[in-house]
């Protein structure tokens, strides 16, 4: 896709996502959309480190959960607005990502993977024991009545930008997703991205070709972590009640990892496809057949894809094109 065409598309989607909130009243699509978009952003974020740099992160749920809870924290502290919450969430998770990376990225990938797993346990335990943010008992977040920004009514029955919070959240998540896509695409075509690719293929060689591997890995980790944090930042408002178990749920890590691998890790399109397909499938399958089978489907999908379709969905599609000529 050429640049201007790409950005045009992004712009159109952005506008559409707002119009959708204005004209669609079937709320379900906003919930479903939000859920799928959330998966998408997590997948894209994971792919920045996992796909481009080849470092596997099991701790996505940790960055997500820390994001969610820093949102809760600032809410407790000075009753922050949704937007402040999201910003803080992003910054904090980014910092944690940087710290973890700084401590462990000198080591081989597996160690980093294990460290992120450990981070997940540690951060969950800390939150569980920290009653200020609700501790193990969880915390409620009641949406404010008629919030305003610079005098403009954001959410309200009439004369507001959005009819209700779900629409606002949906629009927000769309925006985040679009921005993340732009970031990912930018990385792929940048010197930064090429450096990551080099160190993914062979770190020692990359280093000896003058690639500052540690620096690049650190940037990638922090970026990926802070995007995950931002996603987590929207979670409390979506749920209105969160507890550590759901905020640090291992499934979050699993999905963040499975979707790029199923979609294809090479480009931003992979995670997007993966999330669309797997997310939709999860939504649908839960409905049509028993959900223990639904879980099985995810597992089998993952295994089948990593075994038979290395390139993921993207790979398959490209193959078909080639065959079709």
């Amino acid at each position: 896709m050429r640049n201007n065409r790409f950005y045009l598309l992004i712009g159109v989607l952005f506008v559409l996502s707002y119009l959708a909130t204005a004209f669609v009243d079937n709320q379900y699509y906003f919930f479903a959309g939000f859920a799928i978009l959330q998966l998408m952003v997590m997948a894209l974020a994971w792919n920045i480190l996992g796909g481009y740099a080849g470092y596997v992160n099991f701790g996505s749920a940790a960055f997500f959960g820390l994001g969610a809870y820093s949102a809760i924290f600032v809410l407790q502290l000075f009753d922050a607005t949704l937007f402040t919450q999201i910003i803080v969430a992003g910054c904090f998770s980014g910092l944690v990502g940087f710290g973890t990376g700084y401590l462990t990225l000198r080591l081989r990938g597996v160690y980093f993977a294990i460290a992120t797993l450990a981070l997940l346990v540690v951060s969950e335990t800390l939150i569980v024991n920290w009653d200020y943010v609700g501790g193990a008992a969880g915390a409620y977040v009641l949406p404010k009545r008629n919030p305003e920004i610079l005098g403009v009514l954001v959410v309200g029955k009439s004369g507001a930008l959005f009819g209700n919070y779900k629409e606002l959240l949906f629009f927000l998540m769309c925006t985040i997703a679009l921005i993340t896509i732009v970031i990912c695409r930018f990385i792929e075509n940048s010197k930064f991205g090429r450096g990551l690719a080099a160190l993914r293929d062979n770190e020692e060689a990359a280093e000896s070709m003058g690639v500052p591997t540690l620096k690049l890995k650190l940037i990638a980790t922090s970026l990926s972590a802070s995007i995950m944090g931002i996603t987590g930042g929207t979670f409390p408002y979506y749920m209105t009640f969160i507890d550590p178990i759901s905020a640090f749920n291992l499934d979050i890590s699993v999905n963040a990892l499975a979707m790029p691998l199923i979609g294809g890790t090479g480009s931003w399109l992979g995670p997007v496809l993966g999330a669309l397909v797997l997310g939709t499938l999860q939504q649908v399958v839960t409905v049509t057949i028993s959900s223990s089978i639904n879980l099985l489907v995810v597992g089998l999908f993952l295994v089948a894809f990593v075994i038979f379709a290395p390139g993921g969905f993207l790979g398959l599609i490209q193959k078909y094109w080639k065959r079709g000529g």
């Binding site: 796909g51 080591l107 160690y111 346990v121 540690v122 691998l261 099985l296 995810v298």
Partner: protein, 296 residues
Amino acid sequence: MFSFELLINAIVIGILLGGFYAALSIGLSISFGLLDIVNIAHPAFIILGAFICFIFNSHYGIDPILMGIIFSPVFFLLGLLIYRIYYERFEKTGAEALRGLAFFFGLMFIIEVILIMSFGVDFQMVQAGYIDFKATFGVVDIPFRMFVPFVFAMLMAIGLQWFSSRTFFGRAMQAVAQDSLALRLMGIDPVKIKTIAFGISIATCSIAGALLVIVIPIEPSVGRLYIGQVFAIVVLGGLGSQSGTLIAAMLLGLVESLITTFFGPSWSPAVAFGALILVLAFKPTGILGRVGDTRG
């Protein structure tokens, strides 16, 4: 509220607990430690073993540990199979880092779901004479529910330690970890070695499962609780050294039981994993480090 009685008992339980952890992680110290296979599904296999022991115990009253031992060859074969797939599909193509991991993640899910579909999600327990038995020495008492698994864990750990340091095959296994080239020169096929080694690591899951179901009640997804622990132990133990793994497991057990006793239980996991992160950061070769290539 410190007292000598508390301390000594905390230590005893800590050691027993350590033995239990050792049983869970000793297999992983082969697959992850020696073969660099990040088998995230290891605990899932343990739960699989646990459930097998459970059915035979509840239907025919067979002792779980006996069952675990009987079934370990089956698990061994299962291990061979899985490694073949893993090798053909990922290791050969150098894709293990990402897709290999995902592969095991998927396996974990599949095992869990199959167990859910066949056993439901209720907690299950096994019966055996010794489970409710306890021995008392002065102020110390030793619950056999913990002690018996401890003994077998020790046997297993020491057995493997002996195997990998004394037997030819064991040494070959160690050599695989260092570099396969040397082996090739010696005319040994490293893949063969790895296959069998992975088989062994899965075989231990059968026995570990038996011990697990004696110590705690099980349900299909209980394995997730231990993913962190077992990897922590293997890394702390300095990848691939069975003795290291044993010691790390003991330390973790002791730390948990001491903290539980004197500071309250809800902090023990944080401490254990905090320790892990620190070790990774500052002494990645583990407590008693193997001369390992921890760098990229």
